[in-house]
C-alpha cells in the first residue's frame, strides 16, 4: 500500500464571493507524478497555491503527511513549506542575487547550512542541469529556459519531498521548453513526488501517473493518462482535448 503524501478534503476557495474552487477531494501518493490540466481560468493555479497555503483555503483541509496545513501555526507552516518546493510560471528568481546565491539563500537562512555545504549542494545541482558555468551571473543575463532550470534547482536545494509546478514552460520560447521538461522528467524518474500544472500534453501523457482534469471549480475527471487521453468521459474534457490536441 503506497503512503499518502497529500490529502485534499472538500477544498473550497473563494475570492470576495467568487467561488474559484468549489469542492475538491483528491490524494497524492509518495512518488506519484500528477499532471493537472484544464482550460485557463479553471482555478489550477489557485488549487496548486492552496496546497502549500500560499492561498488560504476558504474551507476544507489540506493534509501533508497527515498534518492539516489549514489549521496550524505560522511557524509550523513555515517548517512544512520547506518540504514543498514550488516552481512558478514567471520563475521569480531574486534579481539582486547571483544564481548560486539564489540557490544558497534558503538552505543557509532556513536550514542553517554552512556557506560551504550550501555552495557544494548548489554547485552539484547546477551541474546536474548543465548550468554550473552560470553560477556567478545574475538572473537577468540568463535565457528563460536557464532561469527556469535555476528556479527548479533553487527549490531542490531545500531537499523537498514534493515539488509543485505551475505551468513551468508557459512563459518560455518554444525552443526552450524541452530543456526544462527534460529536467522535470529526470526528476520524476528519480522518484520525486510532483504535482504539475501544465499545457504540455506530450509531457503529461508520458510522465504522469495520474491526470487531473479541472474545470469550473471541480476536478471533473482523474485517471491514468492512457485512459484519459483516449477515453475522456466528461463533456468538458472532450471539448478541452479536442481543442488542444488538434
Amino acid at each position: 500500500m503506497p503512503t499518502k503524501m497529500i490529502e485534499i478534503q472538500h477544498l473550497k476557495k473563494e475570492f470576495n464571493g467568487n467561488e474559484v474552487l468549489k469542492d475538491i477531494s483528491e490524494e497524492v501518493d509518495k512518488g506519484q507524478v500528477i499532471c493537472v490540466i484544464g482550460p485557463s481560468g479553471a482555478g489550477k493555479s489557485t488549487f496548486l497555491r492552496c496546497l502549500n497555503v500560499l492561498e488560504k483555503p476558504t474551507a476544507g483541509k489540506v493534509l501533508f503527511e497527515g498534518q492539516d496545513l489549514t489549521n496550524i501555526s505560522d511557524p509550523e507552516l513555515d517548517k512544512l513549506r520547506e518540504k514543498m518546493g514550488m516552481v512558478f510560471q514567471g520563475f521569480n528568481l531574486f534579481p539582486n542575487m547571483t544564481v548560486v546565491n539564489n540557490i544558497k539563500i534558503a538552505p543557509i537562512k532556513v536550514k542553517g547550512l554552512s556557506e560551504e555545504e550550501a555552495t557544494k549542494t548548489a554547485m552539484e545541482l547546477l551541474k546536474k542541469v548543465g548550468l554550473e558555468n552560470k553560477a556567478n551571473v545574475y538572473p537577468d543575463s540568463l535565457s528563460g529556459g536557464q532561469k527556469q532550470r535555476v528556479a527548479i534547482v533553487r527549490s531542490l536545494a531545500m531537499d523537498p519531498e514534493v515539488m509543485l509546478f505551475d505551468e513551468p514552460t508557459s512563459a518560455l520560447d518554444p525552443e526552450m521548453v524541452d530543456e526544462v521538461l527534460n529536467v522535470m522528467q529526470e526528476l520524476a524518474n528519480s522518484g520525486m513526488t510532483m504535482v504539475v500544472v501544465t499545457h504540455e500534453m506530450g509531457f503529461a501523457k508520458e510522465v504522469a501517473d495520474q491526470i487531473w482534469f479541472m474545470a469550473d471549480g471541480y476536478i471533473q475527471e482523474s485517471g491514468k493518462p492512457e485512459d484519459f487521453f483516449s477515453h475522456p468521459t466528461s463533456d468538458r474534457a472532450k471539448e478541452f482535448l479536442k481543442k488542444v490536441l488538434k
Partner: protein, 507 residues
C-alpha cells in the same frame, strides 16, 4: 477626536522613548545658551494663591532669562575666545537680578515673538528683552517696574536721508518692524497708507532695508543708533512717535508675585543709581566698538563650524530615526492589522499635512510644557525625525509595493518566514529601487534642519543669524551659509550616488 488625541500621544510617546538616551547627550553638547537641563524641581504650580516662584528659583539655583539677542545695545552677542557671550545693558540687568537672588544666570536666546510663549510655558523664568509694558501684554503676563524708556527711531539708508525726515514722509511706503514688538503696532497706527513688513529679527529687517525691500525700519533709539554708528551706509533719526508705554521692564508669568517683588527691588536699586545710563550703556557701546575692529565675517569661522557641527548632528540622528520610524510605519501601513494600519495612516497623513515649522514649535512648546527639561536640540531632533519618518514611510511603502508579489511567494515557498522574507528578499530590493527617492528625503532633511533655528538650536542657520547680528552685515553671512549648505548637500549626493552605483553593480 478622543481616539485621535490618544493616537497622537502614542506616536509622540514612542518617539520620546526612542530619543530618551539623547537627553544626556544633548545636555552634554548643548552650548551655554541652553544648558538649562539641570533637573529643575519645578512642579510648575502656576497657582497664584500658593505662589512659590521665588522659592522655586532659589531652590533650583538658576534664573533662566529669555531674550532675543539681536538688539544692541540692549542685548547682543559677542565672542570671547570663540565662545558666544551675551552682552548689552539688559544683560547687566539680568546679571544684577540673578546676583541679588543669589542664583546662577542662564540665558536662553530665541526669536522675540517666541518669548512670551516660552514664558507662559515656563521654559524661562523671566523675559528681559527690551520689552515694553503694554495693556495687551499685561493681559497675559506680569511686569516688574520699568527700568528704561527710549524713543522710537527710524533707521534708513543714508542715501535716502533727504527723502525721509519725519513720520509723514513714509506715507504709502514700506516700513519694517519686528514681529511681536510694540513698534509693529506703532507703524500701523502712525503712518497713513503704510505697507508694513514684519520680520522676526532686527537683523533680517536691516538686511531688508539694505536691499531696499523696506524704506525704513522703526526700532528703539538705542538700537537704531547702534546700527547707524556701526554701518556707514545707514542713518537714523527720531520718529517723535508718542508712545503710551509704561517703559521697558522684566516680564513674568502671571501670578509669580514673589519673584516679581524681588525684581522690583533690583529695579529700584538700578534706577536709584541710574546704573543703565551711567554705567551699562557706555559699557555696551564699548563692546560694540571693540568689536567693530575685527568683525570681518571670516573671523567668525568658528560660528559656522559650530553651526555645521550641529546641523550634521541633527541630520545624522534624524536620518537614523527617520529611517527607523519610516520603516516601522511603512510596515504598519502595509499590515493586515486594521489598528496598526490606522495608526500609520493617521501619522503619515497628519505629518505630511502640517508644516514642519509648526511641528517644530509644537514639539518644543507643546511637549516641552509636559516634559519641562526638554532641551531645544532634542525637541528639534524629535520634530525633524518624526517629520522625516512620515515621508520616508511613504517612500519605503511604495518601494515594497512596487516589487512583484512573486518575490514574496518564491521566498515563502522556500520555507522562509515573513521576517526572513522581508529582511533578505524584500528590503534589499526595495532599498535599491527607492534609494534615489530616499536620498532626496535625506537631502531635504539636511536643508530643512535649518528650521530648528527658530527654537534656538545652534545649527548653521542660527549661527548665521548670530554672525549677521554681530557683524552688522546681512548678505555675506547668508551667502557663506548657502555655500556651506550646498557643499554639504553636494557631498551627500555624491556619497548617495556612490552607494547607488554599488547597488546597481550588484545586478
Amino acid at each position: 477626536m478622543k481616539h485621535f488625541k490618544q493616537l497622537l500621544m502614542l506616536c509622540i510617546l514612542c518617539v520620546s522613548v526612542f530619543l530618551a538616551p539623547l537627553n544626556a547627550f544633548a545636555a552634554a553638547t548643548s552650548s551655554s545658551s541652553s544648558a538649562s537641563s539641570s533637573s529643575s524641581s519645578t512642579t510648575s504650580s502656576t497657582n497664584a494663591a500658593t505662589d512659590d516662584s521665588l522659592q522655586r528659583i532659589k531652590q533650583k539655583g538658576t534664573l533662566v532669562v529669555g531674550t532675543s539677542a539681536d538688539y544692541p545695545p540692549y542685548e547682543f552677542t559677542t565672542k570671547k575666545n570663540g565662545k558666544t557671550e551675551y552682552v548689552g545693558f539688559e544683560m547687566d540687568v539680568a546679571k544684577q537680578f540673578a546676583k541679588d537672588l543669589g542664583v546662577k544666570l542662564v540665558i536662553k536666546n530665541m526669536d522675540f515673538d517666541s518669548l512670551l510663549v516660552a514664558l507662559e510655558s515656563h521654559k524661562v523664568d523671566t523675559v528681559i528683552a527690551g520689552m515694553n509694558i503694554t495693556p495687551e501684554r499685561k493681559k497675559s503676563v506680569d511686569f516688574s517696574k520699568p527700568y528704561y524708556t527710549g524713543h522710537k527711531y527710524f533707521l534708513i539708508n543714508k542715501a535716502d536721508k533727504a527723502k525721509y525726515k519725519s513720520v509723514n514722509s513714509f506715507k504709502g511706503k514700506t516700513v519694517g518692524a519686528q514681529n511681536g514688538a510694540m513698534e509693529y503696532n506703532l507703524v500701523k497706527q502712525n503712518i497713513p497708507n503704510v505697507q508694513e513688513k514684519g520680520l522676526a529679527k532686527i537683523t533680517s529687517l536691516v538686511i531688508a532695508l539694505q536691499s531696499h525691500k523696506v524704506d525704513g525700519v522703526l526700532m528703539d533709539e538705542a538700537t537704531a543708533k547702534a546700527y547707524a554708528n556701526n554701518n556707514s551706509n545707514l542713518y537714523t533719526f527720531n520718529s517723535h512717535i508718542k508712545i503710551d508705554s509704561g517703559g521697558i521692564a522684566m516680564a513674568f508669568p502671571k501670578g509669580d508675585k514673589s519673584l516679581e517683588a524681588a525684581a522690583n527691588q533690583t529695579v529700584d536699586k538700578i534706577n536709584k543709581e541710574d546704573l543703565i545710563n551711567k554705567k551699562w550703556i557706555p559699557q555696551a557701546s564699548k563692546y560694540m566698538k571693540s568689536y567693530k575692529k575685527h568683525n570681518t565675517v571670516a573671523s567668525y569661522w568658528t560660528f559656522f563650524a559650530k553651526g555645521v557641527e550641529y546641523t550634521l548632528i541633527i541630520t545624522v540622528i534624524a536620518v537614523f530615526f527617520g529611517f527607523l520610524l519610516g520603516t516601522l510605519f511603512a510596515l504598519m501601513r502595509l499590515s493586515q492589522n486594521k489598528i496598526l494600519h490606522g495608526i500609520a495612516v493617521c501619522y503619515i497623513e497628519f505629518i505630511r499635512g502640517t508644516p514642519m515649522l509648526v511641528q517644530i514649535m509644537f514639539v518644543y512648546f507643546g511637549i516641552g510644557a509636559v516634559i519641562q527639561s526638554l532641551p531645544a536640540l532634542v525637541a528639534g531632533i524629535i520634530a525633524v525625525s518624526v517629520n522625516s519618518g512620515a515621508y520616508v514611510a511613504e517612500v519605503i511603502r511604495s518601494g515594497i509595493q512596487s516589487l512583484p508579489i512573486g518575490q514574496t511567494e518564491a521566498a515563502r515557498s522556500l520555507g522562509m518566514t515573513k521576517k526572513q522574507t522581508f529582511h533578505f528578499i524584500i528590503m534589499p530590493q526595495a532599498m535599491r529601487n527607492i534609494w534615489p527617492a530616499l536620498g532626496n528625503e535625506f537631502i531635504t532633511l539636511l536643508k530643512d534642519s535649518s528650521l530648528v533655528s527658530t527654537i534656538g538650536v545652534g545649527e548653521l542657520m542660527y549661527q548665521t543669524q548670530l554672525v549677521q547680528a554681530d557683524t552688522y552685515k546681512g548678505v555675506l553671512p547668508l551667502f557663506i551659509t548657502m555655500m556651506i549648505y550646498f557643499v554639504l548637500t553636494f557631498t551627500l549626493t555624491r556619497i548617495l550616488n556612490y552607494f547607488e552605483g554599488r547597488m546597481k553593480h550588484a545586478h
